[in-house]
């Protein structure tokens, strides 16, 4: 049973170690933090939870000096700070462990720990002192198994994380921010990390712990703060609350938007794609059927394997095991080219990086696939270009000669969709189809997705926005830790999805 930590936050009554007051931050006119306040005591593990895009990471980057807030104050040990550079936050005692590590793979552990602060002796870097101190810090954390001389490239992800923590400790941090530290870890590694976090708190550090995994939040934290849409919702002692209350606080929102009607029974056709036991480094035992005429939604937290699944189906990061058939043909694509020829298309989450050649015209982008892959009807696609662009309702002032970098996010996304429609796919995969798209274009893309399903395409849609996923999907598969954690019917409530997504990997529907 998860044991709630019974100890109250130490230092009760005394001034908190850290106070962030009324912090606001906008990017390009979009407010991502509204008057958020937060405090942290020495020795406390304070969990920060919220859906994707709730503002957790932005708040922490403000604290770490990576973003300068528009307003609000940061007080550390009674001193007010205005950080404008990460170095200032470091000097004040704030350490942050990002999801992506900032380690030099080809340098040793000790060299990484002391990077930028190498001790010297007679003008020479005192390698011995550096390695000794690193060894001591590692031993204090119970990680004597890691050699200070080991190269970071030879360490597991969990060990690399330990190195990041040691790096923070070596610079005398008082406040340690951990941004989803267990996301890349296996279950047993996560447990070791939990023990480590407890030891650090016992030593008097204040720890801000961002996590999507509610079970560990309840095991570890003294208090929980919920953020939603950039606002502070609540801060409660962990002992006084439960998972359902926190989940409700995280999602509590109305399905206000309009979504096109779902498929009626009988509108879905035969199976366009089947997968049995699909797996690779990040995915395990995935069984999946995509039917023509149906929109299948994939829910899951960041790092749960949603994007990996789409990329595996598309051959970009192929499956290494399992059987797959597309349109009745047995085929496990080993490259995007094979997938495209089999009739699979992927609208990636990174529109600018992977979806478009930004400096090329709408025409060049829309015809990219048909030009590149043999067996595609390039000539007819070129003739049908105008019809294609009409079909996706593209609004470009310069017509098909316009460079796509000058289009709005919504219109850029329509060009990506047009590109795939030109290749006449049978299976269309969407990864975050409306990310960074304005409300009007969002509705247009939703309608378009539904129309494509009605025309007989099998559609798979991944979205971090649960309302969108629920509004669009005819059924919802929930992923967790690289596995399918369960299937929910159309219109399932957000709470059910979050429960499957945040639940332990060993529950769920192993039998299904």
């Amino acid at each position: 049973m998860p044991a709630t930590r019974e100890a109250p936050p130490p230092g009760g009554g005394a001034a908190p170690l850290l106070t962030m007051r009324n912090v606001s931050k906008s990017f390009l006119g979009v407010r991502v933090l509204h008057d958020v306040s937060l405090d942290l005591a020495a020795g406390e593990v304070h969990a920060l939870v919220g859906e994707n895009g709730a503002g957790k990471s932005t708040l922490m980057k403000v604290l770490a000096g990576e973003h300068v807030p528009d307003s609000g104050t940061i007080e550390l040990d009674g001193t007010t700070h205005a950080f404008t550079h990460p170095q200032q936050a470091q000097a004040a005692g704030v350490g942050i462990i990002h999801q992506e590590f900032a380690l030099l793979e080809h340098r040793t552990v000790a060299e990484n720990v002391f990077l930028g602060r190498e001790p010297t002796r007679y003008g020479m870097v005192d390698r011995r002192a550096m390695e000794r101190r690193t060894g001591e810090l590692l031993a204090e954390l119970g990680e004597s198994g890691v050699s200070p001389r080991a190269h970071v490239r030879d360490l597991s992800v969990a060990r690399r994380q330990t190195v990041e923590i040691v790096k923070a400790l070596a610079s005398d941090v008082r406040v340690l921010v951990m941004d989803e530290p267990t996301a890349p870890l296996a279950e047993h590694e996560a447990r070791l990390l939990h023990a480590l976090v407890r030891r650090l708190a016992d030593r008097g550090l204040g720890i801000l712990y961002i996590s999507h995994r509610l079970r560990e939040v309840f095991e570890l934290s003294h208090r929980i703060t919920v953020l939603k849409d950039g606002r502070h919702v609540t801060t409660v002692p962990t002992a006084d609350t439960d998972t359902d209350t926190i989940v409700r606080a995280m999602v509590g929102r109305e399905l206000g938007a309009y979504y096109p009607p779902r498929a009626r029974p009988g509108e879905t056709g035969g199976t366009a794609l089947t997968l049995r036991g699909g797996g690779n480094r990040r995915l395990h035992g995935i069984d999946l059927d995509l039917r023509s005429g149906e929109v299948t939604g994939i829910a899951g937290l960041q790092g749960s394997g949603r994007t990996s699944l789409a990329r595996a189906l598309f051959g970009a990061a192929p499956f290494t095991e399992g059987d797959m058939t597309v349109g009745g043909r047995t085929l496990r694509p080993r490259s995007p080219r094979e997938a495209i020829r089999a009739g699979i298309a992927l609208v990636t989450e990174d529109r600018k990086g992977e979806g478009l050649a930004l400096r090329q015209s709408v025409r060049d982008n829309a015809l990219l696939v048909t030009r590149a892959v043999p067996g595609q009807q390039h000539a007819s696609a070129a003739r049908g270009l105008a019809g294609l662009l009409d079909r996706v309702r593209l609004q470009a002032r310069g017509g098909s000669d316009q460079q796509v970098q000058f289009l709005s996010g919504g219109n850029q996304q329509k060009v990506v969709i047009a590109k795939w429609l030109a290749a006449a796919p049978k299976v269309l995969l969407f990864d975050e189809p409306t990310r960074g798209v304005d409300v009007g274009a969002k509705a247009a893309i939703h309608t378009l997705v539904r129309d494509l399903a009605k025309e007989g395409l099998a559609v798979l849609i991944i979205s971090s926005e649960l309302p969108e996923l629920i509004g669009m999907s005819d059924r919802i598969l929930v992923m967790s830790d690289g596995r399918l954690a369960g299937e929910l019917p159309a219109g399932a409530p957000e709470e059910d999805i979050m429960r499957l997504a945040t639940g332990p990997a060993d529950e769920g529907t192993a039998a299904a």
Binding site: A102, L104, R107, E118, V125, A186, E187, E189, E507
Partner: protein, 332 residues
């Protein structure tokens, strides 16, 4: 809830033992150099020549010096994640400045003038790369064109003359070892010390390895790149002084005829330094230089077709880098 029932059966792997040093490119390239020497000796001996003749050893070592000095400097910039294509023209200009200054003044003023020129060019390269944020390839190609323009506008052939005393550097030897080898050894040792033993060196590796991570750790990455460029140019200045001593005069073709720009990059890469930076070092580079010099010597003794010689050089460099790439993928 019985999570233990599904606990992973695989035990967590312990820390890996320290890598066998043979896979370190710096060690590998010296082994390769030894193999090349043995093969060269066999081939030359079978051909009826004598590989280990005193004159041949002196030639090989002497040939190592100029390329070695440039390649050591090139290692410093490449480690830091930059590149210097202006080295060939800096050598040419350096020999001219040395010879002309020494003709009118003393050896000391000549040396100082060349070093001052080197610092200026290195600073310019570094500041263009970091301040104007011009890609190093283009930035140093640009300075190369500027230096070339200056040379072609002012010189049509050899100019100046170095005093006889200065020519000892190029021609004296102790046993079979030219004294200039000690210049290379001193410069290489200095750069090795800087890169491996000082904070600056650690920051060079960090900047080349991951500039963003280095900056987040408080490293002044721009300054590091500028200093690396100055170090490189100073090494190139030393090469220019050596060549001026060899030639007895300054020559507009001193650096370009032997293609020190691309040759030095080839030697650095052959020595196991990653072209992207952050990995490698001076020791490997010297091994790379030795391999290239021995190959040259063997081909000269056999007087083979220059086409064949260049094919072998090309194959060796490509094979070396392909080998490093394989290794890098396995450890990634």
């Amino acid at each position: 809830m019985t999570p233990t029932a599904l606990a992973p059966a695989v035990a967590q792997p312990g820390p890996k033992p320290r890598r066998v040093k043979l896979t370190d490119p710096a060690v590998g390239v010296w082994l390769a150099a030894a193999v090349v020497i043995v093969l060269g000796w066999l081939i030359v001996t079978l051909d009826g020549g004598s590989f280990f003749a005193r004159a041949n050893i002196t030639t090989i070592l002497s040939n190592c010096v100029a390329l070695g000095l440039v390649a050591v400097g090139q290692s410093a910039v490449i480690l830091t994640g930059s590149l210097d294509l202006s080295v060939a023209y800096l050598i040419s200009l350096g020999t001219l400045v040395a010879a002309e200054t020494m003709q009118d003044g003393s050896v000391v003023t000549g040396v100082l003038a060349v070093l001052a020129l080197s610092v200026a060019v290195g600073l310019a390269n570094g500041l263009i790369v970091t301040g104007l944020k011009v890609n190093a390839f283009i930035a140093t190609l640009g300075t190369a064109f500027i230096l070339r323009g200056w040379i072609e506008d002012n010189y049509t052939g050899p100019a100046g003359q170095v005093p006889a005393s200065f020519r000892h550097l190029g021609y004296d030897r102790i046993g079979p070892v030219p004294v200039s080898v000690f210049l290379l050894a001193a410069v290489a040792a200095a750069v090795w010390f800087l890169t491996r033993r000082t904070r600056l060196g650690h920051h060079m590796y960090a900047t080349g390895g991951d500039e963003h991570a280095a900056r987040l750790s408080g490293v002044r990455t721009r300054r590091t790149v500028v200093v690396a460029h100055v170090i490189c140019s100073l090494c190139v200045g030393a090469a220019a002084l050596f060549l001026a001593s060899r030639l007895g005069a300054g020559a507009p073709w001193a650096g370009t005829e032997a293609r020190y720009d691309l040759e030095s990059i080839a030697a650095v890469v052959l020595g196991g330094t990653a072209l992207a930076g952050g990995r490698g070092g001076v020791a490997g580079t010297l091994g790379g230089v030795l391999i290239l010099a021995v190959l040259d010597s063997v081909f000269n003794q056999l007087s083979v077709d220059p086409f064949f010689k260049n094919v072998v050089r090309g194959v060796v460099i490509i094979a070396a880098v392909a080998l490093y790439a394989r290794r890098g993928r396995k450890t990634a």
